[in-house]
Symmetry: C2
């Protein structure tokens, strides 16, 4: 159905298999720092015009791969498509970020919430299939969704927030209603990711972008528990029978790695505050071992290439010796940023980063051969 995969380094690393270099991709790699993205977006008229048009979404997803030898592609879409399909009315005002026309502001609105008809998200699944065809096996395609908690933040606040006052007021005042909202979100996210897998996504990632704003205790009871509810419902294999690895990324979740170890997923994403060596010691061994993904500060990309290379070296050394056993799984690292790439990033600095990760990680393996 789809062309065979030519570069499986990313998927091998997800499964904790030895690779000859450290795979690298970047969160938001198809985005505003690329002039060709801005050109396509201008033609599309708006962000949602871009995300809902299969040809545009395919085009921008592939743009960074034309420039940089990245080891994975990620679906171009937004984390808020699911609540939009639930009827909350998503829009993007210029320079303002996402906004819902009908945020959840009372008990009735939450009780009325249902898993949306996946047909309303057909444009996403069509984009997945189109991108997968356009990739023609160059690299694997990652699908994604926001986490139940992160969606709930936007659904209750109606937009981004600096203090999460409304969503946390609900959480602390009416934990029962918050759990009901998270359950609906979790079931919707599971259906959404399963449909992406059916359409051709070869890995899926859950972005818990706002998990880190929760208090210790509340994170485990609300965000982590609802992410686990998603994972329990995910299909394990794609339509080609290939197993589909699952990545969970909680921004600001570094203190909760020991709790996240219990998640039924293959990879944990880390932001730049986490010590990669410490995370490896906590997460890369034992029955619940996982691959690690991350975690360069996106602001490193504003420094000159020589400094970028130094910071790459620090991260690779912090992770430590690559695992080299061809027969057994072991610790693996997928290089990424600790958050989405900034729109102000010079594209040639991204080229320097990808080159440094590939060259240095090959050298490290050669040194230890």
């Amino acid at each position: 159905m789809f062309a065979p995969l030519q570069n499986d380094t990313f998927l091998r690393a997800c499964w904790r298999q030895a690779t000859d270099h450290t795979p690298v991709w970047l969160m938001r790699q198809a985005g505003r720092y690329l002039p060709e993205y801005l050109a396509t977006r201008a033609r599309a008229g708006s962000f949602m015009g871009l995300a809902t048009n299969v040809d545009h979404a395919t085009e921008v997803t592939l743009q960074p791969l034309e420039r940089f030898p990245l080891d994975a592609a990620i679906l171009f879409s937004d984390i808020l498509t699911v609540p939009d399909a639930m009827g909350l009315g998503l829009s993007f005002e210029a320079g303002e970020g996402p906004r819902f026309a009908r945020p959840l502001r009372d008990e009735a609105a939450i009780l009325a919430l249902e898993v949306p008809d996946m047909d309303k998200l057909r444009y996403v699944f069509d984009a997945v299939a189109s991108i997968r065809r356009a990739l023609a096996g160059r690299v694997p395609l990652i699908g994604f969704s926001g986490s139940p908690w992160t969606l709930a933040c936007y659904m209750v606040e109606g937009a981004g927030s600096s203090d999460y006052r409304q969503v946390k007021t609900l959480l602390y005042s009416r934990p029962d209603l918050m759990q009901r909202l998270l359950a609906v979100n979790a079931d919707a996210v599971a259906a959404y990711l399963n449909a992406q897998i059916e359409a051709g996504a070869q890995a899926v990632m859950i972005f818990d972008s706002w998990g880190g704003v929760l208090a210790d205790g509340a994170f485990q009871d609300f965000s982590l528990a609802s992410t686990a509810r998603v994972l329990r419902q995910l299909r394990r294999d794609g339509p080609d029978g290939q197993p589909v690895p699952r990545i969970v990324f909680t921004k600001g979740g570094g203190q909760w790695l020991e709790d996240m170890r219990a998640l039924d997923c293959e990879v944990l994403g880390l932001d730049w505050t986490v010590n990669l060596g410490r995370a490896r010691a906590l997460i890369s061994e034992g029955r619940q071992a996982k691959a690690l993904q991350g975690n360069l500060d996106p602001n490193v990309l504003f420094a000159p290439p020589a400094q970028i290379e130094q910071e790459v070296a620090k991260l690779l050394q912090s992770f430590g010796a690559p695992h080299r056993d061809p027969l057994n799984p072991g610790p693996t690292h997928i290089f990424n940023l600790g958050h989405g790439i900034s729109q102000f990033t010079p594209p040639d600095h991204v080229a320097a980063l990808v080159e440094a990760v590939h060259a240095q990680s090959r050298q490290l393996r050669a040194l230890r051969a």
Copy 2:
């Protein structure tokens, strides 16, 4: 010179001495959630008009103590007074937060930076002495400053930031210049806190509000190292010969508690993402043991009093059994929020919180007697 102290619970807890209840104060306890504060601010005309007028600063510092039986007062001021005295031109636009007229944007500006003449900050030291007199020994007075790194963030960005792009570009591109800026800031903060101690501050707190945005490694090399440089220069005793405990609070620093254990201070502040029991296990024993301060999510105060009481119980239980040895220091907890109180907080919920901390912590001690 000043009246004798009637309630030393907070200071005893700072020194890890047993107390008959858990002391409580709140970051930004003198602030916009109090109608009487808004009235004084209206009379003062502006935030800086309030902060630079000794009588106004004294009045608002004492306002929360008239309402709630808090165990400490904290100087009413702003963390950005020091760079203002360096000539950067601080102002507060309505609804916009602080802004510098002359942010540091080139090497020459950073090389020209000097520790300011402390006479320019006389209004702060006069306020400390005036507040101390007005307190008449009711509770101890805490002085404070921003940390060298947190000041640097505002000095380079010129205002608050969502991505810290400019200050991190400087850090990653020119670490030498960043260290020079932090050294000047550290020496200025030390002189500033020493002058507050000379004027009558009975404890001092360093607010590393933006330490948590740094990457692992950069936090230790830049923020933590420059905070340590401040601590090395602080005087140990007030003019009355009483030792002055030092509190360090890094928002978002929960992953770095083991690094912070080496700081030469008495208390570590914690935000709400930190598990208090785990922090106690890491920090409350051994040669470098410290008291812990924190760490309720300020958004808990939007829930009804019954839920507030429950969350207080959870935190007190998470810290665990109070230490009761009258002869030796042991683990102590100073109750606080994990960040400044929100301007939208209902004052009667603050009353419920303070009452709950006092009553429940006394009960816990009685149960274990």
